[in-house]
């Protein structure tokens, strides 16, 4: 279920990333055309509004591009965390544990004997 959400997010982000460079190029060319057209018309107000709009759009698209890559990096990080933090422990450890318990009781017994022996003296 969670993986399906990851796939959807990946699709959305990829689409947004591939669009944002196209949009960036598109807005920058609109900007240059509008600038040259406006320069011919010599209308200072429209130049200011068109260029500021263009700059704002370019800024937005650039931010989207960076944000999209960041989102994908966060996704790889979360997958890495899943691999590292939610592993099923391997069976070897449980086998080792049983041997440990037997050895533990033996050692504890001998240790208790040693201490009791020492305290008696």
């Amino acid at each position: 279920m969670s993986n399906r959400a990851l796939l959807e997010q990946l699709d959305r982000t990829t689409e947004m990333l591939s669009n944002s460079l196209t949009q960036l190029v598109k807005y920058s060319s609109i900007l240059s055309e509008e600038e040259s057209g406006a320069a011919q018309r010599e209308m200072a107000d429209s130049i200011a509004s068109v260029s500021s709009e263009g700059v704002a759009m370019i800024n937005t698209q650039t931010m989207q591009l960076i944000k999209g890559i960041q989102d994908l990096l966060v996704m790889t990080r979360s997958i890495r965390e899943k691999w590292l933090l939610s592993q099923v422990p391997e069976k070897k450890e449980s086998e080792q544990q049983e041997v440990d318990y037997e050895k533990c009781s033996q050692m504890l017994n001998s240790w208790v004997n040693q201490i009791v022996g020492n305290s008696d003296c």
Binding site: M1, Q87, M107
Partner: protein, 110 residues
Amino acid sequence: MPQPKYVQERIESLNSIDRQLTSSLLHASQAVAALAELKRGEEMKHQFEMHARNFYQGLEEATVSLRNEIKFLDDNVGTRLLPINVNKKASDQDDDKLREQLTLLEKELS
């Protein structure tokens, strides 16, 4: 703590995806820089094309590998990984501590 080989492979592959993503961002920035130069009338068209192509290529490779990684994650839930919604307690730490104490006891006894 050393990880199993399969997990190591997955982490290596995720690292390479990270590298691809960052390099495609670099190509995007270079493409935009070339575009800015293009507007000043310099012959940067070729460079712009190259960087844009590299950006899309890098993005494609990274997203395809990322999709595969999500699939691997999906396949291994239940065998190598716990189901995602379960909160795992750090139960291994108890055993580690126990083993540490046992080796200490062994040293004391010998």
